[in-house]
Subunit: 319 residues, 2 copies
């Protein structure tokens, strides 16, 4: 039993008396009676973001990461609360100006409002963001059906590639450098899809930890598995270009987290409406696999249906 499981076990017991906590096994808290949806996450320097050299971008990243939890449940975020712990350098006048400007831009882009917060001095920089929305219903985890199609919005992998560039582990030209770093800091959260999701998806999650980890999470209480077609996993033209150029395998870049795209399952009967909405919104939604009974293992197949063995199993639970 690792530390995280331990914590989950200890906390889960306490949430049992409140059905709204969804047993601490979903992306949000949902109080149906009060129509309240809440998501809370803490982001620490050196863990969720490398450093605070670009406060404007870090703030955008964590706000989007937080509201993404609501959006993937089909819920529009309305308020956010920000609690920052940091030292005087982190909260210098210059940085506060940048933070304030970024928050203002995000407020306009996503129609959200600052509800409140707290600022505490600490040598270790961290932010806790609480996002709140209101809804009559949400799209839960663990509601997939056998033979459901599995879809993902947008492209995967760009954000991770941006992180590698920031860490100087990969070098690309300036234009691509800028592109990938922007994707890392400002993930393209699918705000426009929020209201539509309920029309077709059975279950959904946002991809924060990585495609396969989040697939596992999406159905973690169900006796189901998945089959994913690697070649169908959507990546950007820029990522395609550099993977070719650097002779890197796609499989090592599309499940490393921070994508903040929406992963969902839907019945085959919904293919028409999904295509229509995708084309109406001008928003990429790609079918990447299917949900199966768990008498079959979860697998990823390459061209010619060959099962891929994964080098880095760290990100792939339940194999």
């Amino acid at each position: 039993m690792n530390e995280f499981e331990l914590i989950k076990n200890y906390f889960q017991k306490l949430s049992k008396k409140s059905p709204s906590s969804l047993n601490l096994n979903d992306d949000v808290f949902f109080d149906k009676k009060n129509k309240l949806v809440v998501s809370i996450d803490t982001y620490t320097e050196g863990n969720h973001f490398i450093d605070f050299k670009k406060p404007d971008l870090v703030i955008k990243k964590i706000i989007r990461s937080s509201i993404s939890d609501l959006i993937c449940k089909g819920v529009k975020p309305k308020y956010y609360f920000i609690s920052g712990s940091g030292n005087k350098k982190s909260f210098s006048k210059y940085n506060l100006l940048k933070i304030s400007k970024s928050l203002n831009e995000e407020q306009k882009k996503y129609k959200i409002f600052l509800g409140g917060g707290d600022t505490v001095f600490s040598n270790k920089l961290s932010f806790t963001i609480t996002s709140i929305g209101f809804a009559n219903g949400i799209i839960y985890r663990n509601k997939a059906n056998v033979n459901d199609d599995i879809y993902v919005s947008g492209n995967l992998g760009d954000s991770y590639f941006g992180l590698l560039i920031l860490k100087n582990e990969i070098k690309v030209n300036n234009l691509l450098r800028k592109y990938f770093i922007n994707q890392y800091f400002m993930p393209n959260v699918q705000f426009k899809l929020t209201d539509k999701l309920k029309k077709f998806s059975n279950t959904a999650i946002d991809i924060s930890d990585g495609l396969f980890t989040d697939l596992d999470k999406m159905i973690n209480m169900q006796k189901l598995s998945y089959k994913i077609d690697l070649k169908k996993i959507p990546i950007s033209n820029n990522l395609k270009k550099v993977l070719n150029l650097k002779k890197k395998s796609k499989i090592n870049y599309i499940s490393r987290g921070d994508d903040y795209q929406i992963l969902f399952s839907a019945s085959k009967s919904k293919r028409g409406i999904i295509n229509r909405i995708s084309s109406n919104l001008g928003l990429k939604i790609t079918k990447i696999g299917i949900i199966q009974k768990n008498i079959e293992k979860s697998i990823i197949v390459d061209h010619n249906n060959v099962v891929i063995k994964l080098k880095n199993k760290g990100y792939f639970h339940n194999f």
Copy 2:
């Protein structure tokens, strides 16, 4: 302009478009339409609590501190969310057991439920608590009237005295030691008063920073001042005893924070109902002064109406 003012200025601008934020100048966020009340606070080791040697007690202290913000507004807390940042030592199996047990006890005592949370590894220990309640209305700050009586619930100063004992700055016998330390860790939050407050108070706040600092905050947007009668400020028999014994002045112990009592103002016509409710609930509510026009300065008077000069002005703004 100090750092805190700076932060407030930068954040306040962002909250302007959302009336629910109460201009970031109250204890809570209140969305009237959705009847939602939210309070968020971050507590860090070395700042809000000395250390984590007694995790069970620290957890009680911060939970009570958080729900106190709702209670003083006349709102019953319903859910709490806890986001902890700490290292493996802070979140050892032993500590998690203690934390879990304490949370369970607080849940029962205050009828609250764990809604969710997050755990992040960090070398610096901190907790962010979000408390949520539902209400048609709240008791705001800055709604005092001239000639209002000023009241406080319970006793003041015990918690600060407990802190001094914990820091080895004062020595007392074991019985008193236990009493004051318990008051520090487990402040007697006036949960029973929550529903009654609306019946008589015009404005209210909880005393977290200290009586005079919080008095200033309670009326900070109003052109008002206060006159407080030192001898009326309620202290426990135990505190009375040690102050006599150690020849210490009361004034230096009753406004140092962490009391989590309710400070409120009420019209003189409410004296009857306040006395009745106080005696029905078996709960001390003491009239300690009056609200005046600010052509007169805020003052504290001793016996014979002599104005007290305060040595430690750090805690007394606007003098």
